[in-house]
Symmetry: C2
Subunit: 350 residues, 2 copies
């Protein structure tokens, strides 16, 4: 396995910084790391393996000679940059929703559909940070007993909305504790001591696009187009980790004991489920960890083949940075850095 | 209608104080108000209609001559005090879960099953503060198109856990903003910038009793024993108002438009549902109001006869104090202060 040249686009963002940590921790074979960001952030530096690396402004030539380009910026910027990176020969692993539902872009959670990376044509997308924990918790069960329907309600942390939202939570909360009114400048809604069922844009079916992603991306990753899925996505005043209350229906009966056994051996999943102690996952404690934690597994008393459960994962790590790097590891393992077919740039820039 | 003598037990608690506000606002026919609490709180005073009333220690004779005893204390204390108050001739309206599921105790949300107050035998219970908003939002739909199943996940404020939990949220949050570790003394779990799926005690089916109440009490209030209900109840770092993501299945198809029309004319319900503006209820803004707010009404894309929605209500008002007083209003309207049958004390203290 050769050492890789890696471009990290959006290096100064919350996910970008977490990506550098993960890259160090997992001893990915690195030759050269190039940190890229907007002009505004260029010139700052970030530490990687004990060395300060300067952040450069992203330019088309930034991707020359790169094996991988990890992109974690907004959707519009991803749409602009990914095709350029592909043209320059890099395999793009993209954190945005720009390409996820493209038929020729694999959408990958390595523990579930790692083999899909082999079909890439220059871009591999990582799922929405709420989708990854859910499929990690459900796919091991689905393999044994097909899932027919999923109801999920989320409790999503502000770091999923970026660094400004994180600062907003601190500033609003501090002000409110001092009795000051909230300054909503730059915020969608008050988040200090509040919450709101609105993440992303509203669609014509009155779901938000975040909720629609919960459905569409799950079906694509699990290769299970017939599962019914309905989600309500809610932003809560928590810094890191997304939590999810999940109610799942199977084709036939599955006991909580069987689900616990299956999840206990599922890669990347940790069962934390003891009503005696009691023990269940909570976002404050899950922050900074790599696993998807599952607890509160119980028979759904409203459905003969149903289970209810509670899932929490660090949205910056398994929800984003860690999953991105695991995809690169999967690509190297399967020796498919070069795409099989035509590069995807042609279909994006016709 | 004669003016009533009223005992308020737990007057210094969050619900007790809110009850005094509601009692003033709604111009309930009051002759005399007696504020009762533990020995610890005796001697303090609270303002009612511009007059400072002294809080007395609750004693058996405190209920002598009282028409109503509004009790908002913990379940153990309610079990102890309610029979004494009944024996002394008061009609008890109890906020605890002590008597709710007793066959001879009406469990009442006046807009839904007001007629049930006529069956009281000395005690009327008010529902759990999460149950009331849900039945307020669903019963008007159920009357037109019977509900077969409800999935609900809650986002419950700390005031539902009492004054100490409210102070805990402030203290923990302030400390965390200053980088101090959380002191968990007296708290179930960290609530500052955290949340947890654990309200009440765990039952043998691994639901919490709070979740089980969502099922059992809803069926009793709606007189609909066959609805399937599954809940996950979660405490969130919000001071006041409980929010709920609800997914409901009907016997036949119901459109979001029809649901909005039915809820628009339902007493005590306000539809706040506009994805264009956008507009939806949020706990910070619902706090201090009397209505149950419903938004995010949409067709459930995972079920042909399903709707998804988002419900928020002030847990101290419609969830507790307001509903209690509305029950008393219903009793006076129906002229049933005196019980029809034997007083319930006999079945409680055999």
């Amino acid at each position: 396995m050769k050492d890789c040249n890696i471009a990290v686009v959006g290096a100064t963002g919350a996910v970008g910084k977490e990506f550098l940590k993960v890259l160090e921790e997992r001893r990915f074979p690195v030759n050269h790391v190039r940190l890229l960001a907007s002009r505004r952030s260029a010139g700052t530096s970030l530490s990687f393996n004990g060395v300060d690396l300067e952040v450069e402004e992203t330019k088309p030539e930034s991707f020359r000679g790169m094996d991988f380009a990890f992109i974690s910026v907004n959707t519009e910027l991803s749409k602009e940059m990914a095709p350029i990176a592909v043209e320059q020969g890099a395999l793009v692993i993209d954190d945005s929703s720009a390409f996820r539902m493209f038929p020729d872009v694999p959408l990958v959670v390595p523990e579930i559909n790692g083999q899909d990376v082999e079909e890439h044509q220059g871009i591999i997308s990582i799922p929405n940070c709420c989708v990854t924990p859910m499929v990690m918790a459900l796919y091991p069960l689905h393999c044994v007993n097909p899932i027919s329907r999923i109801i999920v309600d989320t409790y999503q942390s502000v770091s999923g909305a970026g660094g400004e939202a994180v600062r907003g939570l601190s500033e609003q909360t501090e002000g409110l504790l001092q009795g000051k009114p909230v300054n909503l400048e730059g915020s969608l809604q008050q988040i200090g001591f509040n919450l709101f069922p609105h993440i992303g844009d509203f669609l014509s079916n009155n779901y938000t696009d975040e909720e629609q992603k919960m459905r569409d991306e799950t079906l694509k990753i699990m290769h299970a187009p017939n599962i019914g899925i309905s989600a309500t996505c809610v932003r809560v005043p928590v810094y890191v980790s997304h939590s999810e209350a999940i109610h799942v229906e199977f084709e036939s009966h599955m006991s909580p004991e069987e689900a616990r056994k299956l999840l206990a051996v599922a890669p990347g999943v940790q069962v934390l489920d003891d009503s005696e102690k009691p023990e269940y996952p909570m976002p404050w404690y899950v922050a900074g960890t790599d696993q998807v934690f599952v607890g509160r597994i119980r028979k759904d008393q409203s459905h003969p083949n149903g289970l209810a459960m509670w899932v929490v994962a660090d949205n910056l790590r398994k929800g984003a940075a860690l999953n991105s790097l695991q995809i690169a590891e999967e690509v190297l393992k399967r020796d498919c850095l070069q795409p099989k077919g035509q590069r995807i740039t042609s279909s994006i820039n016709p």
